[in-house]
């Protein structure tokens, strides 16, 4: 190793202060899409908990609710029990394949339009622009010494940012309880500590990540940009500066002179509008890069400029590097949205979504599970018969009380089933299970003397709704000392 004293002298520069971005405002087609996505996603996030949904007097009346205490999750007409958590798994699988599909079609759609970090940062930028003015004003104000006006503007901006941040945490907790009640309790100081803790945490993360960290989150904290590099391919559309058209870049004036001289002139006039609108501060003209979240704002900025100077829009657009090469060689560009990768992802989404929808539509609203006593496995009775004990749990997923007849099959005639604490009709226990809950019972099955059973006999437990005949069953075994 070569020792160089200069290195230690300049070691400070191994770290760089984050360069503050001052993205300027822009308007255009993609900006409109981004505003719409922002309004829709944040609208859903902030207002969904307030939608009511009538489920009867004993169930919560909130359309979307994760009831931790009641161990249930509600989504409009769907009610998910903890043992059905695979629906959540399914949703996550769908979400990830949807991300893969987005990537295969048009690159980092998630990063540019849908990611909470992007959406909230965009909202914070909008507030900043509204209070402090556009790019130039903000740069000048940051350079200027502190004054009453500057202080006031900064204070108002941070106040609004904090209000948004508190609202973000505030909306989060509304998904875990009755929204109006939580709001009232929160403001009157009666809410549970966990409510304030969550509001505090999300206020902190929203304020710091959207207000200060911004593109640093994408560049240094988020794993997704790295993963996406592995998911994209040469066919995927990405926000691309069409070098074949833009280079060599030069100002309009220089370009006019060069043209007269017969030199090659690119369409890029090097106005840097694309760089100035970029929320992460990258130069798209350097090609695909980690810092580019592909929000497409540079496309809007460039199109505006191109229109102004009377050139074709689309110098920056959704395109592929492959097409840049093809055009340079004078071949027409080719686009293939439908290709094995996208078809596979779409098919997976349809299949998994279909399976989930099918099972959701056909799932049973009752269930029974049986656990055989482990110690003792069987009890010899005074009349020479044998008794087995079971713990039976009946599940009622309907919002009303139901009665189930409990029966057992698989044993020779003469056996008896007794559910402790439950009255029997016709020798069969009729179990009342309250609305939307489970009931655990101790069930004894007795086989009389002389039944001559082997050491283990497979049996089935059935429950049948006395009203509508809906059924569920579970299998277990009847144990004896063995045939003698």
């Amino acid at each position: 190793m070569r020792v160089d004293e200069n290195v230690t002298a300049g070691s400070d520069s191994y770290y760089a202060a984050a360069k503050k971005n001052y993205p300027s405002s822009v308007s255009g087609r993609l900006r409109t899409i981004k505003w719409s996505v922002l309004i829709i996603t944040l609208g859903i996030y902030y207002f969904l908990p307030f939608i009511r949904w009538d489920r009867g007097p004993d169930a919560p009346g909130q359309a979307v609710l994760i009831d931790m205490a009641g161990r249930k999750a509600y989504f409009f007409g769907v009610e998910i029990w903890p043992q059905e958590v695979y629906y959540l798994t399914g949703l996550l699988v769908l979400a990830s394949i949807a991300l893969f599909l987005m990537n295969a079609v048009a690159g980092r759609v998630w990063c540019g339009y849908l990611c909470p970090q992007t959406v909230w940062t965009d909202l914070y930028f909008a507030v900043e622009r509204w209070i402090e003015g556009d790019r130039r004003d903000r740069i000048l104000m940051d350079r200027a010494p502190m004054s009453a006006g500057k202080f006031l503007r900064k204070a108002v901006k941070h106040l609004i940012w904090l209000l948004i941040a508190v609202g973000t945490g505030g909306a989060w907790v509304l998904y875990f309880g009755d929204a109006p009640t939580i709001i009232k309790d929160t403001f009157t100081g009666n809410a549970a500590p966990i409510v304030y803790i969550w509001i505090g945490m999300l206020t902190f993360t929203t304020y710091s990540l959207a207000g200060f960290m911004r593109e640093q989150v994408c560049l240094y904290m988020c794993p997704w940009p790295r993963i996406q590099a592995a998911l994209t391919d040469e066919w995927a559309l990405n926000v691309t500066y069409r070098t074949d058209r833009g280079e060599p870049r030069m100002s309009v004036k220089t370009g006019a002179t060069a043209k007269v001289a017969g030199a090659a002139v690119g369409d890029c006039i090097d106005c840097k509008a694309c760089v100035q609108v970029c929320p992460t501060g990258v130069d798209i003209r350097e090609g695909m890069q980690l810092g580019c979240i592909q929000c497409g704002l540079c496309i809007d900025a460039c199109d505006t400029v191109m229109k102004k100077v009377g050139r074709e829009p689309g110098l920056i657009g959704y395109d592929t590097d492959m097409n840049i090469a093809r055009r340079s060689e004078g071949k027409p560009p080719i686009y293939r949205i439908v290709r094995p990768r996208t078809v596979l992802y779409a098919a997976l989404i349809v299949i998994i979504g279909g399976i989930m929808a099918y099972t959701l539509a056909n799932r049973a609203f009752q269930g029974v599970s049986v656990l055989h006593d482990r110690n003792p496995l069987y009890v010899n009775l005074s009349d020479g018969g044998t008794r087995n004990g079971y713990t039976v749990r009946l599940i009622n997923k309907r919002p009303q009380e139901r009665h189930f007849v409990l029966t057992v099959s698989g044993l020779p005639e003469g056996f008896m089933v007794e559910a402790q604490g439950v009255a029997a009709a016709d020798g069969k226990p009729v179990v009342e299970v309250p609305a939307d809950t489970t009931r655990e019972l101790r069930v004894l099955v007795m086989v009389p003397n002389g039944a001559k059973l082997s050491a283990s006999t497979p049996i089935n437990f059935y429950i049948v709704d006395t009203d509508n005949g809906e059924k569920a069953s579970a299998s277990d075994f009847f144990k004896t000392a063995g045939a003698s």
């Binding site: 760089a16 240094y220 010899n380 005074s382 020479g384 003397n449």
Partner: protein
């Protein structure tokens, strides 16, 4: 930085470090990252002073907060005890039937009974309450001293042939050892007794045995041989045999008259625990 060397391929400056001709590029880390790193160090230092951290020869630094997992576990246990005392009070004042019919008290009594059974009863009766030879099976439907809630509670309280003055007590004569019956007579009466539940003894005169039974055994076991829970006399007509139901075991029982002992729990366990045990045992196989 005084040193400035730009790598030709990437256009990035190098740190000046070089290993076998490979130069390290200087892509600077964000400075906030450095601050987070320093903050973590500061946190770790603070943690060492506030919480137990550094092992010493025979102890460790306890930290300013004096936190200890053992102490917090003990506090949790105390809190649990206090919470149990609340329901325990209810149990003390309630009758066994009231406890049995109140789901909340029943759940509590069952849990406490299960724990107390494991601690006190399982050594003889087994963890599954199935007993073994000489130790009654509490899961079945045969009860020497009665299977009602109150019977069971009383048996637990006073014990059987225990040191308690109120103990459950009976005294089957040692027909063989004390010479009350000879071997032939014992064989005959054993034959009669086993015939009641469908068994037999080789070479036994059942009719003679019946006569001997009427003269010697009916006082306690009853004329129908079904025993008596008041006297703790076993039912001899069923299939449950505490000391074995085969030929040799029954002859042995008549000869030596086993006298099982169960300690009195009245002074050792508090009334609420005994109630809970009674509820738990009754739930296993008790009758009405």
């Amino acid at each position: 930085m005084a040193h400035e060397e730009i790598d030709k391929v990437t256009g990035v400056s190098t740190t000046g470090h070089e290993w076998d001709g490979i130069k390290e590029l200087n892509n600077p880390l964000p400075r906030w990252w450095l601050w987070v790193f320093y903050a973590c160090i500061a946190f770790a230092v603070g943690y060492v002073f506030v919480y137990p951290a550094v092992p010493l020869v025979s102890s460790y630094t306890t930290g300013f907060l004096g936190h200890s997992q053992r102490a917090s576990a003990l506090a949790d246990a105390e809190a649990g005890k206090a919470a149990r005392a609340e329901v325990g009070k209810q149990l003390a004042n309630a009758s066994l039937d009231q406890i049995k019919s109140d789901p909340k008290m029943l759940e509590f009594a069952m849990a406490q009974g299960r724990a107390a059974f494991g601690d006190n009863c399982a050594p003889c009766h087994g963890s599954g309450a199935t007993g073994s030879k000489g130790y009654p099976n509490l899961q079945d439907d045969d009860w020497l001293w009665g299977g009602k809630l109150t019977d069971i509670e009383h048996t637990i309280t006073v014990g059987v042939r225990s040191t308690s003055p109120d103990t459950r007590m009976n005294d089957m004569p040692r027909f063989g050892t004390d010479g009350l019956l000879d071997a032939k007579q014992i064989r005959n009466v054993a034959g009669f007794v086993l015939s009641l539940s469908g068994g037999s003894v080789k070479g036994a005169d059942v009719a003679a045995g019946k006569q001997i039974f009427a003269e010697n055994c009916t006082a306690c076991h009853g004329e129908d041989a079904k025993g008596s829970t008041d006297l703790g006399a076993p039912n001899l007509t069923d299939k449950i045999w505490l000391y074995g139901g085969d030929e040799a075991s029954v002859i042995n029982t008549i000869t030596v008259a086993h006298r099982g002992v169960m300690p009195t729990w009245g002074g050792k366990l508090d009334p609420v625990t005994i109630k809970s045990l009674a509820i738990y045992v009754h739930d296993l196989g008790g009758g009405t």
